[in-house]
Amino acid sequence: MNAFIRVVDAVKTFGDPERGGVRALDGVSLEVAKGEVVLVIGPSGSGKSTLLRAVNRLERLDSGGIWIGDDEVTARRADLRRIREDAGMVFQSFNLFSHMSVLDNVTLAPRLVRKASAAAAREAGRAILERVGLGDKLEAYPRQLSGGQQQRAAIARALAMSPKALLFDEPTSALDPEMIKEVLDVMTALADDGMTMMVVSHEMGFARAAADRVVFMDRGRIVEQGTPEELFASPREERTKEFLGHIL
């Protein structure tokens, strides 16, 4: 397996560990191949979001290393711009820029970071928004959109930088049930197109439809991993069985 994202022995502590600090990542190692879709599940506080955020360095590790392709994310003088062009991020709360239209949200980074011309960025942005089904919402502001539409716009915004991998941090947790499907459909289509994806989510439907591998984390460690069929049908660890009992 040719690893595209490589996490080696990642450790991250929040607060002072001697006074009730939390070890969010306690020696996590993980490899994601090019085109692979990895779903990370686990109870809240298990470190799954921290792992994701460390991959594009929204969070810095205490020790351990992370590589995306040949770029060392955790290098002291890492080229942050390059890392963030490598891996796009989609957030639970969308985080669309609320003072900009949907199209401006999508074209901002290509214009500022890639120095694309306004016309070229608009053309590309329009095409990407068509692709996520928002071709008729180009000039709308985020507050005028439903949650599902906002999250699709946020995915389009990440795609506009043509990332080599996409990180999804609980992309459907803030959505009403009837809007979850439209977002998952977009994500499934991306997976089918061969996008490398790390997804923190408990959407079992998505796991079965699109995930190549499911990773179960608890207390900052990877407890168990396998294909969706293996992990859901016959988990080996007690802790995994217990957790799956809650969400299945």
Binding site: L58, L80, M89, F91, N95, F97, H99, R143, R157, A158
Partner: protein, 272 residues
Amino acid sequence: MTNGRRAARIAAGVPWWLVLLVGLGAIALGTALADASYRVIFGAVARGFGVTIGVALASYAASLALGLLLGLARSSRLRPLREASTFYIELVRGLPMLVILYYIAFVGAPALAEVLNGLLAPLIRAGAVKAFQARDFSFATRAGLALTLGYAAFIAEIFRAGIESVDKGQIEAAHALGLSHSQTMLRVVLPQAVKNVLPALANEFVAIIKDSALVSVLGVQDITQIGKVYAASTFKFFETYNVVAFFYLCMTVSLSMLVRALERRLKRENAR
């Protein structure tokens, strides 16, 4: 019954304070036009109108610029910038505006002249520039400078509050897209921060108009100073200060109403 209820609803919606204020204003204006001595006072005090507006506008514009820089420094990631700006803000906010005014006028201006002379010493020795003296700075300039330095501290705190009011997720999203810290500040944080504090910033303009009356202690010929001199020489204290108050209220009340309208508009926009 419905008529009564509708009348009650309309009565509840009427801003009675404004009706009273406009009524008093109309009476004042009516009296003034009918009374020859009021007409004279109006004419005299009106000559200070330009100075009051000029000092207020110039100091406000300058303190917005300085306040923005201080506010950005206050929320900077660089500790020395943060400390320096906090030091300035706490220092200035701890002083009465009147003391700042005296200080700038009688300590700051001579010191500034010295500093400029020091910087331009070679040019002055060569005869290219004349040496500065404290009296080269008019009292109106000194007063404007003092108001600027004082208000910059308040405005910096408003900008800081605005910057802090922007959701952290917006900053993370910008960073995750590869924007640099300054691009994130300029294109994502500041536009939202300024919009959030627009009413508070506008209120500072109302405040600076009122505080511009302080320049009268330096003898600058603003509305207050002209009124003070006029009243002292004619003993028409009652009439003169009525007129002075009338001028200030015309400016401040109308501006406050504009600020409210702006607040309502922003609220509506955010609710949509």
